[in-house]
């Protein structure tokens, strides 16, 4: 088992949403390569508490890369250096002895800092509430095998549905856009036969809610590179196409009512 020595951390500390933030420097003299990045922060926090200092606040839960709670900018990259990997899945073996590591919260206008490394990502929920669902009242569903779904369709839908709602795409985007997140949900639902009835209302409502909170996409592609689930930027094309169509169709259906 190998051990890393002499790690220097520069960690963002901020007491509250409206307070001034600052970098704080901490030394980690020794840490096993098997430890995860967040375990290294746990270790630091236990030390801080033992020194009667306040622990660093950061969001995390599953530590398996699936809940989307963890959210750190590590050396300026959302979720750190390892491709397709959430912060909690990052292990110290990715780093080397003597490294200096800069740790910051998500930086995005739509995600205000709550404290230290924790941000408020509630606007992502607002987008889902606007239309990121299929209306299906409990109890009224037909037999699940009634509508066959070709495997490639189910697979493509699943690829998009893998999004964990972490917000790294927003944090990585120079404009703070949420197009990858929103596109992923629209693609997940709009590709499925069950999603057709609400396809155009959904696309319109979600895109417009997204625009209320987030910046606009200018095709940098940073989102795809940062995404821990490797969601393809193609979902944005699906979203844009359906949004355009929705502007037309929704107007038509309005005139019909």
């Amino acid at each position: 088992m190998s051990t890393l020595t002499n790690i220097t951390l520069k960690v963002w500390r901020q007491d509250g949403p409206d307070e001034q933030g600052r970098f704080e420097t901490h030394q980690i003299p020794e840490i096993p390569a098997e430890a995860s990045f967040l375990e290294m922060l746990d270790f630091l926090n236990e030390r801080l508490v033992a020194e009667n200092k306040e622990a660093i606040v950061f969001d995390h839960d599953c530590r398996e890369g699936i809940c989307g709670t963890c959210s750190l900018m590590i050396d300026g990259r959302a979720h750190g250096p390892q491709h397709g990997t959430a912060t909690c899945q990052l292990h110290m073996r990715t780093f080397a002895s003597g490294d200096e590591i800069v740790i910051e919260p998500w930086r995005a206008a739509a995600f205000p800092i709550i404290k230290d490394l924790m941000t408020d990502r509630a606007p992502l929920d607002r987008i889902i509430e606007a239309g990121g669902f299929i209306t299906a009242a409990t109890g009224g569903a037909p037999d699940a095998n009634l509508i066959p779904i070709p495997k490639p369709v189910a697979d493509a839908s699943m690829d998009a549905a893998a999004c964990i709602g972490c917000g790294a795409c927003v944090a990585a985007c120079p404009n703070g856009a949420a197009n990858l997140f929103t596109g992923a949900k629209i693609a997940h639902l709009n590709l499925l036969p069950q999603g057709q009835a609400e396809r155009f209302q959904r696309s319109e409502a979600m895109v417009e809610t997204m625009d209320e909170y987030f910046g606009s996409c200018t095709n940098h592609g940073e989102c795809e590179a940062a995404c821990p689930k490797e969601i393809s930027i193609d979902v944005i094309a699906v979203m844009n196409a359906d949004y355009l169509k929705s502007k037309l169709k929704n107007r038509k259906s309005l005139s019909r009512t």
């Binding site: 088992m1 509250g16 840490i31 096993p32 098997e34 430890a35 995860s36 290294m40 746990d42 236990e46 801080l48 508490v49 033992a50 200092k53 306040e54 622990a55 606040v57 969001d59 839960d61 599953c62 530590r63 398996e64 890369g65 699936i66 809940c67 989307g68 709670t69 390892q82 899945q89 709550i114 404290k115 990502r121 509630a122 992502l124 929920d125 889902i128 509430e129 606007a130 669902f133 299929i134 299906a136 409990t138 109890g139 569903a141 699940a144 095998n145 066959p148 779904i149 070709p150 495997k151 189910a154 697979d155 839908s157 699943m158 549905a161 893998a162 964990i164 709602g165 499925l192 069950q194």
Partner: protein, 640 residues
């Protein structure tokens, strides 16, 4: 409050009980539903599905979660799948068979009527989730695909790659989001329930703490649902998400809700072994891997060759050898103990010799790498990220870890606890799995409780309260509970000791794991019952919580949760001590057959033990609900 355990099992033959119940229960008419306010604590599978459905039916719902968003509960981490008696594979599955497997898998310690209902409702869950857009795995013809799971001889498990829990939770979350958007459900995120309040012998509401600013507030309602998950983190190291804790259920227990079978905990056989002392949690490798992976250890404890150099003759495929008909798919408790025996015998593998191999070499040569990769890629990748080893090349190393808790708040057939008006759903209740849960059955139970059971079974209670006002939160009972909660948090901050809550949690977890883990005995349990209060005493004197109670303070949150784990840990050991038999996940080494299998005692222990809080953590009061089997006959569980 003195407790009576009335299970309220409906009359009639087993297969008709649930339909009879639905046909004859009291209803709340649609126009009246909006007069009722219901609090749902927890937005995991059970809570989100309950809150969404109750909101859709027209009730005023308030949903609480300590997560930042309802999309994040622990449910999201479930990998393998969800069972349903659809018989889409035409391999002889039926509601009866799922019922049978679940009662047998639970080692005859579950309530038959509840299990039968679960099996009946299982088919609706799949229909519902598909209608909502859950992208379950499909065959090329477009039909739903199935796999098999431990403890079953049919393929009834539906899955979405290795992310079934994620897809189901996102499905339920989307239904909840829709209700939130429509204004039928009010969401309180980053808000932790810290107490239950009873007025005139029934549940009147809850007290919460805002995790952003420490504010303690009361909320009243006609009825409260707890869907707050399990207590597997009592062991410190477990596969549960970091935030999982017992506080909601425990605080309800302290207010009069009986806690049933706390010693029934499930140790999952396939987790990545601990690598070092810094480890904060263990990662599950889905049991579905056992469909294609073969478990083995070297025959020779002093084996030094790398696994690919060890010839067949020097390997012990111990599950296939001991349990030829179930082989690598033997149930969890059986597989876990077998792994422990191998490691205890010195045959463990890996740098710390604390694991066994789960080998895919045969599957790869039989099916081809592509097929195996298609089935398990995300698990393989996850394993490699954690261990740095590629399971396509080197066999995985696995070892059992705390995973699921069958015990929980006692509930009757209507999922009502011993506090009238307080209901409990999902992993937080004790209801359907007896002494051992089968794989892919927790997701099924959570969604069954939330979508298909509570919306019916809460109505009879609610109908009695039509047009009766709910107590105001200015009532003295709320004020007293708020003051108690505030004092408690102030006390953690004021202790000013030297050790943080994690330190105590680790120590506590070690005691519970050593003496109330996979293998229990009288002497060990008595030792734990002496060590836990001593450690709790130190906790109360030497705890150190830095920071304040006016902004986010995760150290303080943790301290309160660990405090409740101490009391729960005592009850787990107490329960394990009085259950003088082995059944399912509860293995008392005094009670085993000559081959080392669990030995049940149906004459004396065919009951649920439900504990009443007495105010003194060393002296809870024991109650029993006898388990009567109408359909199933007691039999020794054999997977040979």
């Amino acid at each position: 409050m003195s407790i009576t355990l009335d299970s309220k099992i409906p009359e009639g033959p087993m297969a008709d009980k649930w339909s009879n119940y639905i046909a004859s229960q009291k209803l709340v008419n649609p126009a009246n539903k909006r007069k009722f306010k219901i609090i749902v604590v927890g937005t995991g599978l059970a809570g989100a599905s309950a809150a969404a459905t109750l909101g859709e039916l027209g009730y005023q719902v308030e949903a609480f979660t300590f997560h930042d968003s309802p999309r994040r509960a622990h449910s999201i981490a479930a990998q393998g799948g969800i069972n349903a008696a659809k018989n889409y594979q035409g391999d002889g599955d039926s509601v009866h068979r799922l019922f049978y497997d679940t009662v047998k898998g639970g080692d005859f310690r579950a309530r038959e009527a509840n299990v039968h209902r679960l099996a009946e409702v299982s088919v609706n869950i799949i229909d519902q989730m598909v209608a909502q857009g859950v992208p379950f795995a499909r065959e090329y013809g477009g039909m739903l695909s199935n796999r098999s799971f431990g403890g079953a001889q049919v393929s009834r498990t539906f899955y979405a790659r290795g992310q079934t829990g994620q897809q189901l939770l996102i499905g339920a979350y989307q239904q909840l989001a829709r209700q939130i958007g429509l204004g039928n459900v009010t969401l309180w995120n980053r808000t932790e329930m810290v107490d239950v309040v009873n007025i005139d012998g029934r549940c009147a509401g809850i007290v919460t703490r805002d995790l952003l600013n420490g504010e303690v507030t009361s909320h009243s309602a006609h009825a409260v649902v707890l869907a707050t998950g399990g207590y597997g983190n009592a062991f410190y190291l477990s596969t549960n998400a970091m935030a999982c804790n017992v506080t909601a259920a425990w605080r309800a227990h302290r207010r009069g809700a009986a806690f049933a079978n706390p010693c029934y905990t499930q140790i999952h056989p396939t987790c990545i072994p601990q690598a070092d002392d810094f480890q904060s949690k263990l990662t599950l490798m889905s049991e579905s891997l056992r469909n294609d992976g073969r478990i083995w250890v070297p025959k020779n404890p002093d084996e030094t060759r790398s696994p690919d150099q060890i010839p067949e003759a020097d390997r012990d495929y111990y599950l296939e050898r001991i349990y030829p008909s179930f082989g690598n798919l033997a149930p969890r408790d059986v597989s876990s103990r077998a792994a422990k025996r191998a490691v205890d015998a010195g045959q463990g593998v890996g740098p710390l010799k604390n694991g066994v191999y789960l080998d895919f070499a045969d599957a790869i040569s039989r099916l081809g790498l592509d097929v195996v990769w298609e089935r398990y890629s995300n698990l393989f990748e996850m394993y490699e990220r954690i261990t740095g080893e590629d399971p396509r090349v080197v066999p995985m190393r696995i070892y059992p870890a705390s995973h699921y808790t069958m015990g929980g708040l006692w509930v009757d057939y209507e999922l009502q606890t011993t506090i009238p008006g307080l209901f409990c759903a999902g992993e937080a209740n004790f209801s359907d799995h007896g002494a051992n849960r089968l794989g892919a059955s927790a997701l099924m139970q959570g969604l069954s409780d939330g979508y298909f059971v509570l919306p019916y079974t809460m109505a009879p209670y609610l109908s009695e309260w039509l047009n009766k006002p709910i107590p105001d939160t200015s009532h003295e009972a709320f004020a007293a509970a708020e003051a108690e909660a505030s004092d408690r948090f102030a006390r953690y901050l004021a202790t000013n000791g030297t050790r943080g809550p994690d330190h105590f949690h680790r120590e506590l977890g070690k005691i519970i794991w050593d003496y109330c883990g996979m293998d229990r005995n009288k002497a060990g349990l008595e030792k734990a019952l002496a060590e836990i209060p001593a450690l709790h005493d130190e906790f109360q004197k030497d705890l150190n919580v830095t920071g304040s109670d006016t902004s986010v303070n995760q150290t303080l949150e943790k301290a309160a949760r660990v405090d409740d784990f101490f009391e729960l840990g005592m009850l787990m050991c107490q329960d394990a001590l009085v259950r003088e038999e082995s059944c399912g996940g509860h293995f008392r080494s005094e009670h085993q057959t000559q081959e080392g299998e669990a030995k049940r005692d149906d004459e004396n222990f065919a009951h649920v033990t439900a504990w009443e809080w007495s105010g003194d953590m060393a002296a809870p009061i024991e109650h029993r609900e006898p388990l009567e089997y109408e359909v199933m006959k007691f039999q020794t569980r054999s997977y040979k």
